[in-house]
Structures are given as C-alpha cells and as structure tokens.
Symmetry: C2
Subunit: 409 residues, 2 copies
Amino acid sequence: MRRGTNLGRLGDFNQAVILESIRRAPEGISRVELAGSTGLSPQTISNVVRRLLDDGIVREDRTIVSGPGKPRTVLELEGNRLVSIGIHLDPSVLSFVAMNLRGEVLRERRIEVPNLEVAAETIQLMATTVKELIAEIRIPKKHIVGVGIAVPGPVNVEDGVVLNPPLLDGWADVELVNPLRKLLRLQVIIEKDTIASAVGELWQSKEEKNNDFVFIYCGHGFGAGLVLNNDVHHGASNNAGEIGHYSTGHKSFTCEECGADDCLAAGTSYEYISNQAKERGLELPTYEIVGPEQRAEGMNRLYELAHEGNQVAKELVTETMIMVAEVAGQLANSLDVREVVFGGPQWDKVRELVEDEVREATERRFALRGVHEIETRTSELRSNVGAIGGACVVMDASLSPKATALLLR
Amino acid sequence: MRRGTNLGRLGDFNQAVILESIRRAPEGISRVELAGSTGLSPQTISNVVRRLLDDGIVREDRTIVSGPGKPRTVLELEGNRLVSIGIHLDPSVLSFVAMNLRGEVLRERRIEVPNLEVAAETIQLMATTVKELIAEIRIPKKHIVGVGIAVPGPVNVEDGVVLNPPLLDGWADVELVNPLRKLLRLQVIIEKDTIASAVGELWQSKEEKNNDFVFIYCGHGFGAGLVLNNDVHHGASNNAGEIGHYSTGHKSFTCEECGADDCLAAGTSYEYISNQAKERGLELPTYEIVGPEQRAEGMNRLYELAHEGNQVAKELVTETMIMVAEVAGQLANSLDVREVVFGGPQWDKVRELVEDEVREATERRFALRGVHEIETRTSELRSNVGAIGGACVVMDASLSPKATALLLR
C-alpha cells in the first residue's frame, strides 16, 4: 500500500526535526540557526519551540556572545526531563543503564555471569533492577520514556519474543516484552543486540553528516549493525546483520548450520581457536562443552597471554580478527558505506593488539577503494554499547524524525 | 542536516502516491478505492485527479460492473502519454528500449558486439539510435520523460561519469550524461547496471507488497541490486551491490584486487573456468587475452555443451552458479530479505540447467531460515533487464513517491 500524508503528520514530523537539531547541538542553537538548518519558517519554529518549552523538554535561558554581533540566546535540552532505561541481555553479563536525552549515562549496573537459565527469574531480576535504578536517579516515572532491551538474535520484535539465540540456554521462544511491561508499567521494546548497538552509535553521533556505516559488534560472536543513509536497516524480520556464516576462505570445520567448512562462526569459535592453540604448542583451557562462560574464560586467557607478549596467542587473536575484518570489508563493499565501526566488549580487549591489521584487512577487501576510502574506527560507546544501544532504541523510537512517520497509517 | 517539511512538498508527494496507486492497478482503480489505499481524503484525491486528468496522464472513461452494487468508474493510465528511453551499455551488446508509463516496451533495438572502444563514437551512436526510436514510436518529444543509461560500475552518478569499468576498454572517466544531454536535449541519468536492474524489477512489480530482495545480475560478471524495504539501496557513492570479491571458499587464483585466492570474481572468470575444463578433459576456446567478447564466446560454447548433455560442461556451469548462489544467500542473510531474484542475460542461458542447485545453495547459506524462508525466483524482465531498468530509472526518478522528497532542500 502506498500511503499519502496530511497536515497532522507534518506537524509531528517538524517537531521531531527541531528537537533532533537541538539535541545534536550540545553547545546550544539559536532560533535563527534552527531556521537555517531545518529549512523551516520562523513561524513554524516559534510554534514548535513554544510547545517544547511548555513541555519542559528544552530551555532557552542562556545567552552566548560570539563575535561582534548581537548576543545569541540559545535553545538547549533540559537533559533529565526525559530518561530511558537500557538493558543488555548478554550471555555472560546483564547490564543496565539509565540515560538522559542528552545521551549521558546517569547510572549503570552490571551483573557478571548471571544465572539466566530460568527466563522467568531473569525477567523478575530485570524488573527489580530497573525499579532500583529509577529510584536511585530520583526522576519521576512520568519522565521515563521506556525500557529498551538488546538481546542476542534471532528476535521477534513485534511480539517482543526472544526466539532461539545459539548461546542462551533456556531462551527458546521466551516472551520478554509483555511480562516486563506488566511488571514495570512502562513502554518496553526489544531489539537484536547488534542492531541496538548501531542505533546507539547513530543516536550518539554528534556530527551533522550523512551516516553510512557497518557496525561490527564483537561479543561472544560477531554480528553487524547496518546504518545506511542515516537509517538503521532492520531487515524484513528485524534480524539484519548476521555475518556468522560468511565464507572466510580459512578452513576450520564443517558448520552444521550452513554446510561450509570455512564460515566465520566456525573459524572464530573457541573450539577451533583452542584447538589451533594446541597445535601450535599453546595450552588454553579446554572444556567438554563450550558455553558462553567457558568461551569467555578461555578467550580472556588468550587475550591475557597475547597482551603479555606470547607470540602464538598474539597470532591467534590477530588471525581471528583479520577474518572478522575481511568479512566486514566485503559487506561494507557491497553496501557501499564509508565507515566500519568496531565495538562491543571483546573489541575493547583486543583493540590495541590488532588495530592496524584490522584496518589493513578491511581496506584490502574494500574493492570500491578506487571510488572512495573506507575508514575504520572504534565505537564511542565502548564495551557498554549494548545497554546504551537499548536505551537509545527507546529514545529513537519515540523521538527521532522518520520520513516514513509522515505517511498516513 | 535534519530538514523539515511544508505544505508545498506535501502536495507533490500526494500526487506521486496517487499516480503510483493508479499505475499499480492495471485493471483500473476507482476514486473510492484510491481513498482506501492511500489514506487520503476524497477532497485531496479529487484535486490531484483533476490535475492528472488535465495533464492527460490518466483517463476516467471506463465503467466496470462487478457484483450487485453501483458500477464503478475507474481511473487508468494514459499509457503513451509518458515514455522513457532506456539504454544498456553492456560490454558485448548495446540495447535500447522505449517504455511507456504502464511499463510496456513499445520498441527495442539491439546492437550486438558493438565497437565501444571510442567512447565519443558510442555516445554519438546512442544519440542517433535514441532519435530514431523516438521517431519510430511517433510520440511527441515533450512526452519523453528522459533517457536512463545502465552502465557497468563503478559510476559517478552525480556528474554522469563512467569511472573505470573492468571490462570496458576506453571508458575510464568518460563523461556520458552531459554530451548526450546536449545531443538529445532530454533529461539523461546514468545508473550502475545492477542497481538499474533492481529499480526495474521493483518498478515493474505488480504486487502491493513490501519488497525486500537481493537482485543477482548475471552478465559478464555478477553483481547485486539491493531492494530494502521497498527502496533501492544506492550506497554512499551510488555503487552498492558489488559482490565480486566475496570469499567463496573455493580456491581459484589470487585476485590482484582483493588479495584473496577464493573470491567470486576469480572463481567465475573465464580464465579459471576454461582452465578447469582443460583439467577435466574438456577443451574450451582459449585466448591470449580474455576480453568481454572472448568471455562471451567461450561461455556460450560452455553453455551449448552443457545443454547438449556434456557432463563436464554441466558440472562447471553448476559449480559456477552455486558459488554465485552461496554468495547471494550470505548477502540475503545479512540483509534479512525475503527473496533472491536472478536475472540478466547469462541467467537466461543457464537457468534450466541449474535452477534447483541454485535454490538449494541459496537456502543453505540463508541461516535465518528458522525465522523465515528465502524464496528464489527469476526476474520478470528477462535478459533485457538492463535497458528496461534504465528506462525505469528515469520514470522512478521523475514520478515515484519518495518520503525523502518531502524534506525541504
């Protein structure tokens, strides 16, 4: 169905555009500058700003003297007027943040190696922790926009269900949104962790540029978040960004899921890495079954050894990350983006060791380099990107101007 | 820059939405049905329809009796009121179509194995041929929307320049749009061939569904066109869809461009295929240098043998297309689309031989299959998809409703 638009839609959209422009100007922005940046008439800006002032979301009480002209009175966000809660359900850590509209983290909480196997108990734990956080930040509940949860894929975003994440036992087809909404009486949204991370990276971007990037989330596995032309690409079922079954050209073992003997998931698995270590004379912890806890333990040992200067450990970390970077370069090439952003908890642990090799491998696989460069950089949200991403998902859903929101339902 | 919108933008957009709805209803659509499908008020529809009738783009003179109710008077396109010209600059064939707003090809022209090496002469040939086509279809020039040219990538769409296509000698940094515009005094647009094909496939789609697909263009090489959420993804430099340097896991030879020894471009090159044939006891034509003409000749011989039942030829064709399908499956998986569409001149030649294997390989690499299925199908535009795609690019640029067009410039 092709939908039209009308005046009602138009007003909401322009309000979102103006709020977005104020949000992205941490130094403040005057009404005249707003007219320039949005293309809107002074009358429209005046109407919208009055509404935002009445709602207490922005303030206009600071005057800036710059240059010889008249001092400018600037609009700024009333940061703590709107706050969202982000949760990251990661197999080895459950993290929470309370974030305000300026993107500042007011409070965070981490529960390391939580017992997640009983989903109902985890949901209860989430609710209790969120309530505690809200109490601690002392912000009235009516100013809490909602709760965003970043979860491992695949997910069913519409129904708020975690489908069957490979590393999360006890979480097949678990309804997460509805029970939490009932316990908290707040808006609750879930999003795949890699997509939430990309939403976070985009939301927090301070530059007024056209954002196009592949976000590589380095956690227990590797996944991508795709930002195309300033929009996060969610995919037909909100599960975009899977890169685990890309061929890497490096044989490891035959993957049951894709049938290839060189896919990224197999080549970066702890089973393969610890095996390779052994072949090269390095003993890493071994386990009968490698769950998230074991992988985290084993990989942390590997990183430790690499940082201490062990050559084999360094090689293995580098080879693993080169495989990831090569896939990132291929994907960036076929999407024609300008940046690859690396982030997530594992990236922080290996960055210093592999940054140059990762850049080089990404660039090598970027065949469009004759047309434009590919830049690689590290996420500004660091290892907490999942939880911050979750908080940004809620802000984004409620406040960002989306051209599609102009269309009649 | 975040831009707002206003009433002027709104009117143009709604007109485009209504025209699009009429276009996608080949059986005709009544004003009441239009209100339902677009969500617009009867008053808005009445104003826009009057304008379209005055411009002669639609007609409203046919009455349909269906069921017991009052007969419906339906709106339909006045097909030949708007016509666009599409050109496909392919290394081995230069093709032209004249297409009307209903998507019907009024006339076509093919120049096989053209001498393209002197770009200026080719541009002259294009201009002459377009003029002849326009004369033959007997449609006044004022009803010609423009000329869309599908060219091998990489391209600079904004400046109308062909950058440096690997298989097109003499076409490094060739200005194509400006000279042709001067010769024809018509709007001229270029687009990468794989993207133009995807635009064509989307424009011609008669179904009112949310289109999400990876279009695999099978020509001299293999490239993709990406349709995400009903929009063609162009990429930061309008060069999205490169898949030539994906790792396939099948070693061939080291590619100079990406450094891998298993990339798709190398594994599907005629150099590698003819070499493999020889190793398996099948003699294919060999050449000192393999240009587009030689590749076409050699591959045609291979297809011929495969169709005649030669086992080695069949194997080689199948192995080649499985590699392409596996890459398509990986890309479709990471974009979370619902369809992979195969098309282009080479697909028509191999389809019967490999359809099942291609479907199977695509599905195997689609790891999201637990969430939803991936459908593989053949393009409806067949081997002429490039030229038709070019014609659709012009129609699309001029007429399709785009939410982003609502924003103030």
